[in-house]
């Protein structure tokens, strides 16, 4: 005799529970944490480098770098002055809360104001795996094309800020900014957006000002 048992539980509930623990760990240490997500090559690491260059010595930053196998990104972050921890996911296409938990255990959080988690380059899975960071930033880039919000709605819905990188390439590629931003607006109304270029530096100050404000509002007591 078959019976039905009601469940009604998020499929990734176990991950969500660990994410909540991570959030508590971060809050207890007074660390503001951001989850950077993007496709491969959009400029996550470049944005981290540019950010570090501008706030080094003012805000204490740690970077957790998620990659399938290499430590190239963590090395770049360390070279730019951050305390960097590498997570190799061993084939997984995203970071999950347990991976971040293990990385947090390697960091002296008392000496950190801002933690940037650089997720694996991928627009699908990272959106579903909560990490426990306070906010998520999606880094889009002009050469990827203007249809990404339509193709990866889960990613565009779940973020708190959007960086549009490589705007210096706008004259050279087909990218309808109106069409792009319309898709974003539907999925995530009022999303704070930073068109910028990590190469020329255009627009970066506005991003830095936002970041300062976010970190400042959570200053250690």
């Amino acid at each position: 005799m078959t019976q039905r048992v009601q469940v009604v539980e998020n499929i990734l509930s176990a991950n969500d529970r660990v994410a909540l623990e991570n959030r508590q760990t971060l809050d207890a240490a007074g660390v503001y944490a951001l989850n950077f997500m993007a496709s491969p090559g959009a400029g996550k690491t470049s944005l981290i480098e540019q950010t570090l260059r501008r706030i080094f010595g003012e805000i204490r930053i740690a970077v957790v770098d998620g990659d399938i196998a290499t430590s190239i990104d963590a090395n770049r972050a360390a070279a730019a002055g951050a305390l960097a921890v590498q997570i190799n996911t061993g084939g997984e296409c995203h970071l999950d809360a347990v991976m971040l938990k293990n990385a947090l255990a390697q960091i002296d959080l008392g000496g950190v104001d801002l933690l940037i988690v650089e997720n694996v380059g991928n627009l699908i899975c990272p959106a579903s795996f909560q990490l426990g960071t306070h906010q998520s930033v999606l880094i889009a880039s002009v050469p990827e094309g203007d249809d990404k919000a339509y193709k990866y709605p889960g990613m565009y819905q779940g973020v708190d800020a959007l960086v549009i990188n490589k705007i210096d390439l706008l004259p050279y590629v087909t990218f309808d900014m109106g069409y792009f931003r319309r898709g974003v607006e539907i999925l995530n109304p009022g999303l704070v957006t930073f068109p910028l270029s990590c190469k020329t530096g255009e627009g970066i100050e506005r991003w830095i000002a936002w970041l300062r404000k976010q970190v400042g509002s959570r200053k250690k007591a």
Binding site: Q3, R4, Q6, E9, N10, Y150, P153, E185, I186
Partner: protein, 113 residues
């Protein structure tokens, strides 16, 4: 490669609820997946057959209820299914839109005996 952790999570939830209900066997799992949260596809069944082996859920069937995306225009109140490459209201062109359905991503129930 997210199928494995997703499948493991599905098993953990199912076993926990079956344990609470004191049942001996899980025969079916009913999952609800919205079009906008499309990280799960039918290949999960393949992983499931391996992961669930030697548990009370061995051999259980996964049922996917797919929910199509639905949006509601906040200007003219039209409710519609968006096209792949255009989400704006097909009637008035507005992009002040509420997402009514399509974000589902949960286990609804399990069949046990």
């Amino acid at each position: 490669m997210h199928e494995l952790p997703v499948t493991e999570s599905i098993l953990e939830i199912a076993l926990r609820h079956a344990g609470e209900a004191r049942t001996k066997r899980i025969t079916d799992l009913y999952l609800v997946i919205g079009q906008l949260s499309s990280i799960v596809d039918d290949s999960i069944q393949f992983y499931w057959d391996i992961i669930a082996r030697d548990t009370i859920a061995e051999g259980a069937r996964l049922h996917f209820e797919r929910i199509l995306a639905r949006m509601k225009c906040q200007e003219c109140n039209l409710e519609y299914q968006p096209q792949d490459s255009e989400f704006a209201c097909p009637e008035c062109g507005s992009y002040s839109i509420q997402i009514v359905a399509g974000n589902e991503f949960y286990m609804d129930s399990i069949g046990v005996e």
